[in-house]
């Protein structure tokens, strides 16, 4: 979860909101159309796997600089990492 939020305390807030939404949606889905809530566990696993893997591609210098600049803008000029 921490990695999902871009290793930043503020990033953890939207990250946990997304995962919370997924869980709530899963139970709603289970009640409404009888899709097992377990599917969300699998999807969360896939999301985390994708995020973890993506760091490899971000580690290229130009990409990293771009992402850091975006984060800096998002957090109001403070150093993001």
């Amino acid at each position: 979860m921490a990695l999902f939020g871009g290793l930043h305390p503020l990033g953890a807030i939207p990250a946990s909101i997304v995962f919370g939404l997924l869980i709530v949606g899963a139970y709603m889905m289970q009640r409404a159309v009888q899709v097992p809530a377990y599917i969300i566990l699998a999807i969360q696993g896939l999301i985390i796997l994708a995020i973890v893997t993506s760091s490899v591609f971000i580690s290229k210098k130009s990409m990293k600089a771009k992402v850091l600049a975006k984060l800096k803008k998002f957090t109001g000029g403070k150093d993001a990492v």
């Binding site: 990695l3 377990y38 969300i40 796997l49 490899v56």
Partner: protein, 312 residues
């Protein structure tokens, strides 16, 4: 009476230890190669479900049990392949990828179970067999010779994996990749390929362990059937100092504590069972705390991906 209870506890502990033993040996291989696979638990769950499902659909006795286990090995190897791709090829953070794989495995197994089975159903599974002459030896017979065939297969895997790791060229490569990947690379060993082989092997073993759990041990599938056994197996690898025999002793010790805890409930001994349930886990913590030197024995690049182009 007391003597019979003790024999019963030991006899019950041996089949319990097999799951830990199978996952532990697989995990030992990938840790020896420097990959830390926390996803074993998830792979076990998928393996347990697939094994159970194949047996449930086929319904033809022993043959379908073995078919179920083979299917579980295949699925485990597939999940191991995912882990290998992410951790070795893409060099992702191994601990987090392992936890994600655990969630993925739990989700897939739980979902498929709800969709295809629904409630609690039991299968015939592999029954324990009593080896004709040997099982009638008074104490040892009951302890050693009254189990299902997978128990003996798993015990045979201990010397086999020791031989594989210490006496074959492949095993030496595995150890080299886990201690000095750059030196191994210089000597022409393909570091990533060896690591991927190890992770896939560990996945297959974890799948088999899961199938053992559902087919041979509980004869059913329930949600979260593994109940943390995969994580305990990772701890047992540390406890066993990355040696097959060490893992065997660790698995036996832990399941002995587990079986002792169970018998306290069964025989109604006047002892609060809530404390007894904690006992096996407490034992692991205590033993790990006192085996302080185990870090020295660890593969030195455990958990660190290998970048061929970079300096150390």
């Amino acid at each position: 009476m007391l003597f019979e209870i003790v024999t019963g506890i030991i006899a019950a502990a041996i089949p319990l230890s097999i799951t830990f033993l199978l996952v532990g040996i697989g995990e030992m291989f990938n840790q020896k190669a420097g990959v830390f696979n926390l996803g074993a638990e998830g792979i076990m769950m998928v393996g347990a479900f697939v094994g159970f499902y194949v047996e449930y659909v086929m319904q033809s006795g022993t043959g379908s049990s073995f078919l179920g286990m083979i299917a579980a090995i295949g699925v485990g190897a597939l999940m191991g392949g995912i882990m290998a791709l992410i951790c070795v090829k893409f060099k992702a953070e191994q601990g987090i990828a392992g936890i994600a794989l655990y969630m993925l495995g739990w989700g897939i197994a739980g979902m498929l179970f709800r969709v295809y089975i629904g409630g609690t159903t039991s299968i015939v599974g592999l029954k324990a067999i009593e080896i004709p002459v040997l099982s009638s030896i008074p104490v040892i017979g009951q302890i050693l010779f009254t189990h299902n065939i997978m128990v003996y297969v798993a015990f045979a895997l201990v010397p086999l994996s020791w031989y594989l790791l210490n006496k074959t060229a492949w095993g030496l490569k595995v150890k080299a990749v886990g201690t000095a990947p750059r030196a191994a690379d210089t000597m022409g060993v393909n570091v990533d390929r060896i690591r991927m082989q190890c992770v896939i092997l560990a996945g297959a073993m974890a799948g088999l362990a899961g199938a053992y759990l559902s087919i041979c041990q509980t004869h059913m599938y329930a949600d979260n059937i593994t109940a943390g056994r995969g994580f305990i197996a990772v701890a047992l690898v540390y406890f066993g100092k990355w040696k097959p025999t060490g893992i065997l002793w660790g698995a036996l010790l832990f399941s002995l504590a587990h079986s002792f805890q169970r018998s306290i409930q069964v025989y109604g001994i006047d002892f609060p069972y809530e404390i007894a349930v904690v006992f096996p886990y407490l034992l692991v913590i205590v033993v790990l705390a006192f085996s302080g030197r185990s870090n020295i024995m660890a593969p030195s690049v455990l958990g660190r991906p290998y970048y061929r182009e970079q300096r150390d």
